[in-house]
Each structure stands twice: as structure tokens, then as C-alpha cells.
């Protein structure tokens, strides 16, 4: 039901503003770079130490010394810079990055996020996620509305160990675009094409706030 991962990436790309520095997490967020609207200039930061990240290289340009935080080979655009990890997180912690997009396993109605650990399963580590969510002023979560078992990922409280608290501002899922309100609650802003408010309500376990009976469809 709803849109696919590419649709989520396209919708998030509409949030980009001219002159922003942006950090994209692994997975759906990475796809956002492919759908930057015309006339919008942004620069991508990867926390392993590059600003001005370009597309993946052609085979003949692969360089083992040039990767992104997902360990994928990348290229650098004109005006790019390399730096060390403390400088990289200085940019992040110091709020010089205007937008962070990342995936999540759960988001709570007060903006808590869980995306690094499932008790009883192998823990791979939080990488830079805790720094990113604790620091960024503008965090968009890109995820499916429900997990593989069909359970809502938008909850009253996260059940999984937290990555950060009170930090998520906006969520784009396969079903909807939602704001997290300052006093808590998921405010429904847009529906995925063909998806009803009822369908979104039933897929949202946390408090869903529908301020209008006329919720527009996403324009992709």
C-alpha cells in the first residue's frame, strides 16, 4: 500500500532548500540525492569525512580511499573537502548541517527515535546516528509506516532502545507525511496517492492528529 522507497526519497527531496548542507543516512535516505529538484543547490556531507559528495563512480574511477559512511565507493564534486572525524562531527554537533535524513525502526509521538538495537539480536552499533539525532535541528525520518509483521512503527512510546529523544521533526513513510508536534502527536500533513485517512489511522499506533478532513495527496 502507498508509495515505494523511491517515492519516499522523491517526497523528501522536495524538502530540500537552496544552500543547505545535508546528511543522508544509509538506505532510503541515500536515494534522496537522486531526486534533487531543479534550481536547488545542496551539498551532501558524509560523516566519515567528506563534504561535496557526488554520485557513485564509474568502474574506472573507483578509489578505495574515497567512500561514504555506508562504505560505498563515491566521487567528489568540484568544491568538495575531506576532513577528519572530529571535524565531521563538529559540523554535525555544531548545527552547521541543515538537514539530516535517516531511517528508523520506531518513532514515538514526542519525537523519540529507535534505530540501532534490537534486544536479543546482534548489535552492530549506533555509528554516527546518536550524534546526528542529538544535534540536528531538522531531522526527517524516512521509513515504511509498518514493520515486516505489519505493526505500526509510529508509536506512543518506542519499545526498542532509543537512539535519541525529542528530536524527530518530520516523518515520510510509504503512506504519509507527518509532523511531530511540539506537544506530542503525529500531525498528518499529506497522504500517499490513493491512501485513505482511515488506512493511515489504522497503521498508526501513536496519537494521530488530523486537523482537516481535506488532507492533500503527496505530489511526486
Amino acid at each position: 500500500m502507498g508509495i515505494d522507497k523511491i517515492g519516499i526519497a522523491k517526497r523528501i527531496a522536495q524538502e530540500l532548500r537552496n544552500g543547505w548542507y545535508v546528511n543522508l543516512g544509509i538506505g532510503i535516505p541515500t536515494l534522496v540525492a537522486n531526486y534533487i529538484p531543479d534550481g536547488i543547490n545542496v551539498e551532501f556531507q558524509s560523516e566519515n569525512g567528506i563534504l561535496g559528495m557526488g554520485p557513485f563512480p564509474r568502474e574506472e574511477n573507483v578509489d578505495a580511499d574515497l567512500i561514504n559512511a555506508g562504505k560505498q565507493t563515491i566521487t567528489a564534486l568540484p568544491g568538495a573537502v575531506y576532513f577528519d572525524s572530529s571535524m565531521s562531527f563538529a559540523m554535525i554537533r555544531g548545527k552547521h548541517v541543515q538537514l539530516t535524513v535517516l531511517g528508523a525502526m520506531e518513532v514515538s509521538e514526542n519525537g523519540d527515535i529507535a534505530n540501532w538495537k534490537i534486544p536479543g539480536k546482534m548489535v552492530k552499533g549506533m555509528g554516527g546516528a546518536m550524534d546526528l539525532v542529538a544535534s540536528a535541528e531538522n531531522i526527517i525520518v524516512a521509513m515504511m509506516h509498518t514493520n515486516k509483521k505489519g505493526e505500526s512503527k509510529l508509536l506512543e512510546n518506542c519499545s526498542l532502545p532509543l537512539t535519541g529523544v525529542n528530536c524527530v521533526k518530520k516523518i515520510v513513510t510509504n503512506l504519509a507525511v507527518l509532523n511531530i508536534l511540539p506537544d506530542g502527536g503525529f500531525e498528518l500533513l499529506e497522504r500517499a496517492p490513493g491512501v485513505t485517512i482511515e488506512a493511515i489511522k489504522s497503521a498508526t499506533k501513536g496519537k494521530l492528529i488530523v486537523n482537516s478532513s481535506e488532507i492533500p495527496e503527496m505530489q511526486l
Binding site: S46, E47, N48, G49, I50, P55, F56, P57, R58, E59, V62, D63, A64, D65, L66, I67, N68, A69, G70, K71, Q72, T73, I74, A76, Y82, F83, D84, S85, S86, S88, F89, I92, R93, D112, M122, V123, K124, G125, M126, G127, G128, A129, M130, D131, A134, S135, P161, L162, T163, G164, V165, N166
Partner: protein, 233 residues
């Protein structure tokens, strides 16, 4: 000029002892000190505490030391992509301390810079903040993190001179300059070793004062974890 040149990895690592705490630069397999890791394998020392952002893969990087059960404890931010690591961790053979990546970087820098502790927002409200002091600044909660020291730091650079000055390439820089500052003894391996004066003094990433030993490495494999190419055009 203070001379730092040693013969090779074995010479550089000769006094690293079983039970030592060692920092190793690199992000994934990018910018790791391949020669020194091989030397540690050959030295057969064990009980090591390794501080490194990642833990290599099964058959490369720190994975070698894991296969040989030389590591007692890993301090990292992300340790995926390594089955032997997972096995040792789940069986309790391996201690693992996971640290947010930015805090890991800053704690290394802090150790090198004589800053014993600092406040950061990262990890507040999560299990990372358990037992740590919390304080509000500008209305926002922060936790106190402390400097992370090591007996030895091992770093990999692109170019270096025999005074220990280092230049890194691309994203192979990552944790290397920070760990270089934090080791009691820091060993640098470089792809190209030149004489002092050949590197532009404006363009050095790690000043030689932080480096005790340097050598030209050999046979770099530079394995790529996620070779991702653009098929378009």
C-alpha cells in the same frame, strides 16, 4: 629535525605487549594500517583492547586479529559485517563497548589535546548516558564524556616525512589524525616516505610531534567493502 624513521611494521610495533590498549585508524577498511595489523598477527600477542571505529571484516583488517583470538575487548561505534565478531560477542568471549561515532572521535582528540572531559548532547536519554553526568546548557541536556587514551596508536597516512609529519588522502583520513594525537606511542605507516622539507608545511594534517615512529608500508591491498558503481551513461 627529530628523526622518527624505523625499518618496518615489525620494528615499529616491537614493544606492543599482550594486554595493551591500541587505537587503530580507519573507517571500515578505508585508511587502516594494513602493515601493522599484519605485524600484530605475527607477534601473536593477545588480550588486546582495540579502539577502532569498526572491526574489519572476517578476513581483512582487524578481522585477522579476531580470527586469532588476540582481541579481548573492542571499543567501536559500528561493528557489523563480521561473522566471527558476532560469534565471539554472543558467546561472551569478546567484550564490546559501543560509543557514538562523534563521541569516539572527540574523546580521542580530547585525550591528545589534554582535555580530560567535555559535554556533548549525543546519547542523552539513551542507554549510553547511563551513569554519566547530565547537565543542561542552553536549555538542552548534555552528557559528560571523558578522554580516551591508549598505550599505542597505529595510523595510516598517504605521505609522510621522517620527522613524522603526515598527509592523508580522501576519506582515508577519518580517525587517523585523532588517534595519532591520543597514543602514548604513535606508529605511522605511509605509502610514501620523504625527507623533511619535501612536504609543504602549510599542508600537513598531523604534525610530527604526535608521531614516535614512521615507516613506508608495502603491499597495500586497500580492499573495498562496498564497491558501488554508477552504471548510467
Amino acid at each position: 629535525m627529530i628523526e622518527k624513521k624505523v625499518l618496518n611494521a615489525a620494528d615499529g610495533c616491537k614493544d606492543i605487549f599482550s594486554g595493551a590498549t591500541i587505537m587503530l585508524g580507519g573507517f571500515g577498511l578505508c585508511g587502516i594500517p594494513e602493515n601493522c595489523i599484519q605485524a600484530l598477527v605475527e607477534m601473536k600477542i593477545n588480550g588486546l583492547t582495540c579502539i577502532s571505529n569498526n572491526a574489519g571484516v572476517d578476513d581483512f583488517g582487524l578481522g585477522y586479529l579476531l580470527q586469532n583470538k588476540q582481541i579481548k575487548k573492542m571499543i567501536s561505534s559500528y561493528v557489523g559485517e563480521n561473522e566471527e565478531f558476532e560469534r565471539q560477542m554472543l558467546s561472551g568471549e569478546l567484550e564490546v563497548d559501543l560509543i557514538p561515532q562523534g563521541s569516539l572521535a572527540e574523546r580521542c582528540r580530547a585525550a591528545g589535546a589534554g582535555i580530560p572531559a567535555f559535554f556533548t548532547p549525543a546519547g542523552f536519554g539513551t542507554e549510553i548516558s547511563k551513569g554519566k553526568e547530565v547537565r543542561n546548557f542552553n536549555g538542552k541536556p548534555h552528557i559528560l564524556e571523558t578522554a580516551l587514551n591508549a598505550d599505542f596508536a597505529i595510523v595510516k597516512a598517504w605521505k609522510g616525512d621522517t620527522a613524522g609529519n603526515l598527509i592523508y588522502k580522501g576519506t582515508a583520513r577519518n580517525f587517523n589524525p585523532l588517534m595519532a594525537m591520543a597514543g602514548k606511542i604513535t606508529i605511522a605507516e605511509v605509502e610514501e616516505l620523504v625527507s623533511p622539507g619535501e612536504l609543504d608545511p602549510n599542508q600537513i594534517h598531523t604534525p610530527g610531534i604526535f608521531i614516535q615512529r614512521i615507516f613506508k608500508g608495502s603491499n597495500y591491498e586497500k580492499r573495498i567493502e562496498q564497491r558501488t558503481v554508477n552504471e548510467n551513461k
